[in-house]
C-alpha cells in the first residue's frame, strides 16, 4: 500500500533520514520504533508531505507522493496525527473535526463521519462545543485522532500517540489502535513506548540515527536481543 524506497530527507544542511526503505501493506499495523532523535517524526512528515525528500521515492498504491502537492496527500487517503497532537486550541472540538473533513470529498459526508467519530469517542460528543485547548491531554489525543479519521483515510499515521499521557490513557490509545486495525484501517505508528506498541502491531522497523537497523514481526523483535537490551531494559 505504502512504499518508501531509499528516502533521504532533512532540514537545511542537517540530514535526518539516510536511505530509508519500508513498506506498509493493506490492513497491517506497522510500527517504527527507535530512540529520541532517530528521525521518526521526520519519517512521518516526509510521508504526509510536510517536508520533501531530497532523494528516493514514496508511493501510495502506485501514486507518487513526492510529485503530489502536500495538501492533496490527504485526498489520496493518508491522514497524519502529528506529534504533540497539534489541535487548533482556540477552536471548538467540532470545528477541529470539521477541519479534519475539509477536503471536497469529505464535506458531503461530514455528519456521517462525525457520527463514526462520536461513536468511537463518546467523550468528544459531550465536549463538542468546548475549546480544544481546554481539554485534558487524553481528550486532546482522542480529538486529534478523531480529526484525522474525519477524512475517511485508508492509512493512518500516528506520531507518538502515547507521549505525555497517563499510563491508563496510554492503555486506551493502544487499545484504540487495535480496534481501528480490526476495523480494516491500515496503521503506521511511531513510538518510543516500545514494549507496549509491539503488542499491538504486526511488524516493526527499528530506526536509529536516520537509518533502518532492524525489521521484522513484532514477536521476533520482542524476542530479539538487540531490541531487548537497547529498549526494553531486560
Amino acid at each position: 500500500m505504502l512504499e518508501l524506497k531509499s528516502v533521504r530527507a532533512g532540514y537545511g544542511s542537517f540530514q535526518a533520514l539516510f536511505d530509508v526503505s519500508l513498506e506498509v501493506r493493506q490492513g497491517e499495523a506497522v510500527s517504527v520504533i527507535g530512540p529520541n532523535g532517530a528521525g521518526k517524526t521526520t519519517l512521518m512528515r516526509v510521508i504526509s508531505g510536510l517536508i520533501r525528500p531530497t532523494a528516493g521515492s514514496i508511493a501510495m498504491e502506485g501514486v507518487d507522493l513526492v510529485a503530489t502537492p502536500s495538501y492533496r496527500i490527504v485526498e489520496i487517503g493518508i491522514a497524519h496525527v502529528p506529534e504533540s497532537r497539534r489541535l487548533f486550541p482556540r477552536m471548538t472540538v467540532e470545528d477541529n473535526l470539521r477541519m479534519g473533513g475539509f477536503t471536497p470529498a469529505a464535506r458531503p459526508k461530514f455528519q456521517e463521519r462525525l457520527a463514526v467519530v462520536y461513536e468511537l469517542f463518546p467523550r468528544l460528543r459531550e465536549r463538542r462545543r468546548q475549546l480544544a485547548g481546554s481539554m485534558s491531554g487524553g481528550e486532546q489525543q482522542m480529538c486529534a485522532i478523531g480529526r484525522a479519521l474525519m477524512s475517511e483515510p485508508r492509512l493512518l499515521l500516528l506520531d507518538e500517540p502515547s507521549a505525555g499521557l497517563a499510563p491508563v490513557i496510554v492503555e486506551q490509545v493502544f487499545d484504540l489502535v487495535k480496534r481501528l486495525r480490526a476495523g480494516g484501517l491500515t496503521v503506521l505508528i511511531v513510538e518510543q513506548n516500545v514494549q507496549q506498541v509491539l503488542r499491538v502491531v504486526d511488524r516493526a522497523y527499528l530506526l536509529k540515527a536516520g537509518s533502518i537497523r532492524a525489521a521484522g514481526t513484532a514477536a521476533d523483535l520482542l524476542a530479539s536481543d538487540t531490541i531487548r537490551q537497547a529498549y526494553l531494559g531486560v
Partner: protein, 289 residues
C-alpha cells in the same frame, strides 16, 4: 452642572458610532496579520484609494451611491489581492523587517500615486446628510449610517468565518500554520481569499469614511496609526480584542473631546495607549497558553 448628562450621553453615543467604524478598520488589519502574519502598513492607503473611488464614481460620474459602494468594495478587495500577489507572497519567507519595509514602501507609493493622479486638493462627495434631533441631542445621520453599515459588515465576516469551511480554515491557519496541509488546505489559496476579504473591508471602510471626511492623498495618516494602535492594544491578530479596543479608544476620544477640544480626545487616547503598553505590553487580550 445641569446639562452635563445630555452632552455626556451625546458623546457616549458618538463614541459608540466611532467605535463601530474603528472596529471595522481593525478587523481588516487583524485578519491579515492573524492569517498571513504580515502587517499591511499601507492598509489606510488602500482605504484612501477606496475613498477616491467613491468620489469619482458618485460625484464625478454620478453612479448611484449603492452601486458605487459595491464597485468600491470589490475594487479595493482586488487591490488587496494584487498587494498580496505582487508584494507579500514573494516575501513570505523573508525576515519580518523586510515585509514591513516593503508594505511601508507601498504606503509611500500609493500616497505619491494619489498625489500625481488626483492632486493634493481636498475632495468630498458633496452629499449633505441630515442631523437627527433625538431627545434634545444631535445625532449625525452619516455617523449612524456608518456605524450600522460597519456592524453589518462585521456580522457578515463573522458568519463567513464561523459558518463556512473556508472561514474555518482562515481561523485555523491563524492558530497553526504548519499543519494546514494535513487538513488538505492549500494555504496559498487561503492567503489570497483573506487578502481579498481584508481589501474588501478596507473598501467598505472607505465608503463609510468618505461620508464624514474629505479625501486627499494623505488622509490615510488620519486612520492608519490609530488602527495599528487599536490592533496592538487588542493584542495583534485577536479579533475580539481589536473589537473591544476599538470601542475603548473611541469612547476616550469622544468623551475626552467633550471636555476639551476634539484633539485632546486623541491625546488622551494615545496617552492611554502608552500607559497600557507599560501595564499590559501584550495587549488587553494577551494570549494565555
Amino acid at each position: 452642572m445641569p446639562v452635563f448628562d445630555l452632552f455626556l450621553l451625546e458623546a457616549l453615543i458618538n463614541g459608540i458610532f466611532l467605535g463601530g467604524v474603528l472596529a471595522l478598520l481593525s478587523l481588516g488589519l487583524n485578519l491579515i496579520f492573524g492569517v498571513i502574519d504580515v502587517v499591511w502598513i499601507c492598509y489606510a492607503e488602500l482605504i484612501m484609494f477606496g475613498m477616491y473611488g467613491m468620489y469619482f464614481l458618485y460625484t464625478v460620474y454620478h453612479v448611484p451611491i449603492v452601486l458605487a459602494a459595491a464597485v468600491c468594495i470589490i475594487g479595493v478587495g482586488l487591490l488587496g489581492v494584487l498587494l498580496h500577489a505582487l508584494v507579500i507572497a514573494p516575501l513570505l519567507g523573508a525576515a519580518p523587517i523586510n515585509q514591513l519595509l516593503a508594505t511601508g514602501g507601498v504606503l509611500f507609493f500609493l500616497q505619491s500615486a494619489a498625489t500625481v493622479l488626483f492632486g493634493v486638493e481636498f475632495k468630498n462627495l458633496g452629499l449633505r446628510l441630515p442631523v437627527l434631533k433625538v431627545a434634545g441631542m444631535f445625532i449625525s445621520y452619516s455617523r449612524l449610517l456608518a456605524f450600522a453599515a460597519a456592524l453589518i459588515g462585521m456580522v457578515l465576516v463573522y458568519l463567513f468565518l464561523t459558518r463556512t469551511y473556508t472561514g474555518a480554515a482562515i481561523r485555523a491557519i491563524a492558530q497553526d500554520r504548519q499543519i494546514m496541509p494535513l487538513m488538505g488546505v492549500n494555504a496559498r489559496r487561503i492567503y489570497l481569499i483573506t487578502s481579498a476579504l481584508g481589501g474588501a473591508l478596507a473598501g467598505l471602510a472607505a465608503c463609510l469614511l468618505v461620508l464624514q471626511y474629505d479625501v486627499h492623498p494623505f488622509v490615510g495618516l488620519s486612520f492608519g496609526p490609530i488602527t495599528f494602535l487599536i490592533c496592538v492594544l487588542g493584542s495583534l491578530g485577536n479579533f475580539g480584542g481589536g473589537f473591544l479596543a476599538a470601542f475603548v479608544f473611541a469612547e476616550i476620544i469622544s468623551v475626552g473631546g467633550l471636555y476639551l477640544d476634539l484633539e485632546w480626545g486623541y491625546v488622551f487616547a494615545f496617552a492611554f495607549f502608552i500607559v497600557m503598553m507599560f501595564v499590559r505590553p501584550e495587549g488587553l487580550m494577551a494570549k494565555r497558553s
